[in-house]
Symmetry: C2
Subunit: 356 residues, 2 copies
């Protein structure tokens, strides 16, 4: 497989309120070291694909308010490789911009569209799957990577494939299914015909552009001039206008679900979307009593602690809590409530915006 035309497009526009109080408006999830010590999720993402994609061909798409912090978190990238969106409009405009931008650099560009805030345990297995996805994209297919489900997770989207997922490489996607009910999820897992949608996409830039032209023609039309922009200022003006008129819609809904030739590569490499503090607990090294994080523990089990370096956190007799301490805000909740952190953030809005 030749990778000389391969660009990584890292989508890094998330706000990630579920990791408050560590995450803040100007320090969202992808800029936090939530899975590995001292390495942000964004840096892990870039590092993970580095055997296939050098920094010069890594594009990061993020919000303008995060551009500086993002460049600081990815110092090996050329300054111009951070594409700063004027306004958040979900992932379809983001992918469209990246596709036209890459085409301007290389008419044969192939894109690996990756989330900035996911985590992979087995990098070697991951690279193998990526390689297969890139190969499968060579004929103009729109390719995604599906994760073999290990539980009836209701927080993910699912992909249904034609037959039972076999050891083969590539399957046709019959349909995308949004977060299912618990009963439906159980059925999906039992059937063997469903994969988790990992939100990673692989396609030739010209192929996805054709798909935008077919399924989101206004966006394609507004963005296409990026391909022939002669300066970054000119590109910025085109992008600003395109985003202003763009619908806020995901690449899944806007294009993938409607397109032909959508294929999926099954992957099994220890994938996590790092969806909440509970995931951080699952990914972290734990003591014999299942506590994770820097805590002094007396009769306590199953807790996750995040705290500033040097601070003593003492847990006495508590179980299955998440405790996240920062200099100006502290959160305490059961692990089982980690999906509800947004309720806390909402309650603080307008009252303590200084800690959001």
């Amino acid at each position: 497989m030749s990778t000389e035309h391969l660009f990584a497009v890292v989508m890094a526009g998330g706000s990630g309120t579920r990791f408050w109080p560590l995450s803040r408006r100007l320090r969202p999830k992808q800029l936090l070291a939530l899975a590995e010590k001292d390495r942000t999720l964004l840096a892990s993402t870039i590092e993970r694909v580095s055997p296939l994609v050098p920094p010069e061909r890594v594009l990061i798409v993020t919000g303008q308010h995060l551009a500086e912090a993002t460049r600081n978190a990815a110092p090996s990238l050329p300054h111009a490789n951070v594409l700063a969106e004027p306004i958040a409009k979900n992932t379809a405009p983001c992918v469209a911009w990246a596709a036209y931008h890459a085409l301007a650099r290389d008419p044969d560009a192939i894109l690996a569209v990756l989330a900035a805030d996911h985590f992979v345990v087995d990098r070697a297995a991951y690279l193998q799957v990526i390689g297969r996805a890139v190969e499968a994209a060579a004929d103009g297919s729109l390719v995604t990577v599906g994760i073999k489900p290990t539980r009836p997770e209701t927080g993910y989207g699912y992909l249904e494939v034609g037959g039972e997922v076999g050891p083969g490489f590539s399957h046709t996607v019959l349909r995308f299914v949004e977060k299912p009910s618990h009963d439906t999820a159980i059925e999906f897992v039992r059937s063997g015909r469903f994969l988790w949608n990992s939100g990673q996409f692989f396609f030739r830039a010209d192929a996805i552009v054709r798909a935008f032209e077919a399924h989101m023609p206004e966006l394609a039309s507004a963005m296409s001039a990026v391909r022939s922009a002669t300066s970054s200022d000119q590109e910025a003006r085109i992008v600003e206008a395109a985003y202003a008129s763009a619908r806020a819609i995901s690449i899944d809904h806007g294009v993938m679900e409607k397109a032909d030739k959508v294929r999926v590569i099954p992957g099994d490499f220890g994938w996590s979307d790092v969806g909440s503090w509970t995931t951080s607990w699952e990914l972290a090294p734990r003591d014999a009593s299942d506590n994770a994080g820097p805590a002094l523990v007396v009769d306590a089990r199953g807790n996750y602690v995040h705290a500033p370096a040097g601070k003593v956190v003492a847990l006495l007799g508590v179980e299955d809590l998440v405790i996240v301490d920062t200099p100006d805000a502290l959160l305490v909740m059961p692990r089982s409530r980690a999906q509800d952190v947004r309720a806390v953030v909402d309650a603080l809005k307008g009252k303590r915006d200084d800690v959001l």
Copy 2:
């Protein structure tokens, strides 16, 4: 009742590890505002008796390492009224020193020996009881104040009186009982003949000196020269020698349990020994869901929070926890474990002495 000879002797030598991480070696319980906003327990104690005892006749006995902080916490007192013990030897040497010191100032001195770290809700009722105790001490009796028990508390000492505790003023104490078992405590409360030992004592200075001479003659002998010391330097040298040879024993064990003419005044004024963070929760104003302290609460009940001013503490879905946050240490435990904080302090010894 004449109070012109009345001295308050405030015993302020406690270390109070049960209030870690707010309490530290150099900032023990009595120097914390645990029951009233912005007022230390020590300051409350002095304020409470101020209608009977002016600052000039308030003596505070504390450890040398706490002398400066104690003087700062009681700025109305003359510098010399803080008696700094060279070494902690429980309460008997402390009371002996205070008795001889007071006698040197006033041969007719009457002492009200008070704990620096307790709390009283009804001050007017308290002052009435104090007045009766002082009156009862006039004839040379050793007088204590007993609290009518409201529950079979196993954490307190009890006083058994001759008959059922009536509305009368003073009862002869038959015996002192250390912290009883739960079954014994239930029996005590049912019998109506037991009172909680509140650790407050009232006696003429010459009467307690005679009791020391009878029951702790070595201590009396070593300390008696304080009465005729001609300088604070000379007094310090006498005290240092007396403490060096003194047995570490409480005034209860060393004298009160052995003495004749021990009487008790029953009191009912909302007394608390502020024994743990659970007590702080009980004493604090609480919201409709029984949470106390400065927290942002979502689906949480029965929690107690102490945190630095301005810090956001968010509780999501947790119940009956104590959360004590300080800049360098954080403690999380169930309210029911508040008696066990010492285990945390012990675990930190030698590892993180900087937070003790």
